[in-house]
């Protein structure tokens, strides 16, 4: 890239595919595996992560002029932890069943490397509008793989999608393994390989 600092649009598009947090950077893998046994928890998780990421990016971008280099990480952590607590309380107050099902994985957003890396790479260096575009792009880029994995696991494992029955039990035996932990590893592994294969094929075609 020629420009030293990408524009808002570039940041937005970057987050969705070229620098996709899950497929390309392998960031924030814990929730990708842990909450994707159903579409509902996966999307709640994606929304929670998105809200924390957007809020943290805005705040960090607003105060970026006052940041001291050696106190930077401290400020990031403080900001993220606060917004995670607020999100956690909101989930507990308004979608209690989901909050109970997600359990410790909501507070674990604090140590999701995705958020701190976006604060470091983008928000602490660029304007608020760019930071917001970056956060939204990254959130979509994070929600996409979550949705992919959750769809596969929920359809194959319990024959439902968002809790609505799709595959009848009479002709689709439930693959119990899919909603169990091993299913998460297997589906993500195969999905990563697929995305790798697709990139290689495109690169090969472009080369021809």
């Amino acid at each position: 890239m020629a420009a030293s600092e990408p524009t808002a649009l570039e940041r937005f598009i970057n987050g969705i595919l070229p620098e996709n947090p899950v497929f390309r950077q392998l960031l924030g893998m814990c929730p990708v595996l842990a909450v994707t046994n159903g579409m509902k928890p996966a999307m709640t998780m994606a929304a929670a992560t998105a809200s924390v990421l957007i809020c943290a990016n805005i705040i960090i971008s607003l105060i970026r002029g006052f940041l001291k280099p050696h106190l930077r990480i401290l400020v990031f952590t403080l900001t993220i932890a606060t917004f995670v607590t607020i999100t956690d309380r909101f989930l507990a107050a308004y979608v209690y069943t989901m909050s109970k099902q997600l359990g410790p994985y909501v507070p674990l957003i604090i140590v999701n490397c995705l958020i701190i890396s976006r604060c470091e790479i983008c928000a602490s260096k660029q304007r608020v509008s760019v930071a917001i575009a970056d956060a939204v792009g990254m959130s979509i880029g994070y929600a996409l793989p979550l949705a992919c994995i959750a769809t596969v696991r929920e359809l194959l494992g319990s024959g439902t999608w968002f809790g609505c029955p799709v595959l009848a039990e009479s002709w689709w035996p439930r693959w119990g393994i899919m909603v169990l932990p091993p299913g998460g590893f297997l589906v993500l592994g195969i999905l990563l390989a697929t995305s790798e294969w697709y990139t290689h094929r495109r690169a090969a075609r472009a080369g021809m």
Partner: protein, 202 residues
Amino acid sequence: MTMNQQLKQGNYITQAWLVILLALLYGSALAGVHVGLSDRIEHNKRNEIYSQIPNLVPDAVQEKTQEKTVQGLDGKTTIVYQACDAKGQCIGWVLRGSGQGFADRIELLVGIDPTLSSITGMYVLDQKETPGLGNYITDPERFQNQFATKKIDPPLVVVKSDPDPQHEILAITGATISSESVSDTVNKTIANLKQPILDLNR
């Protein structure tokens, strides 16, 4: 020397004012969120149990339920729920119990009649049993409903076929351990709290 120290102290303030300011700001934000939402969260937590009371004790009215604190035989104090009908008459009790299941802890509620002689309902609050096998303990048709007709004495026993309608629970196929942990937890909870509740009535 002192000059130097003063300089250094001034330096700390210039270094850390942002962190201190942010900490104050975030602190008040958190306090606001806590004050605004804690009642709602408490209500949600209570509602999880209260909404089940009419299913566990037939004819019970959610709003008339009274909480009683009792000391179980194991020495721990527990809250039990006294279920009442629309007139405020006590028509049963709801007890909360937990025990180790096949995979993780199982938390459940048991409804019993006012004389503490028979079970009127059972509901699993929290479990992480194997999907497709053990998690059928949350299924009313397959498992939970059979508790509603059982007697308390002697304790429940899990069998694999032809259950006796008064004392035996039919295990879920392929999940005998989960079924046994549920019935054991029910037995233990009742045994632990039966005498204290009878004392309460006296």
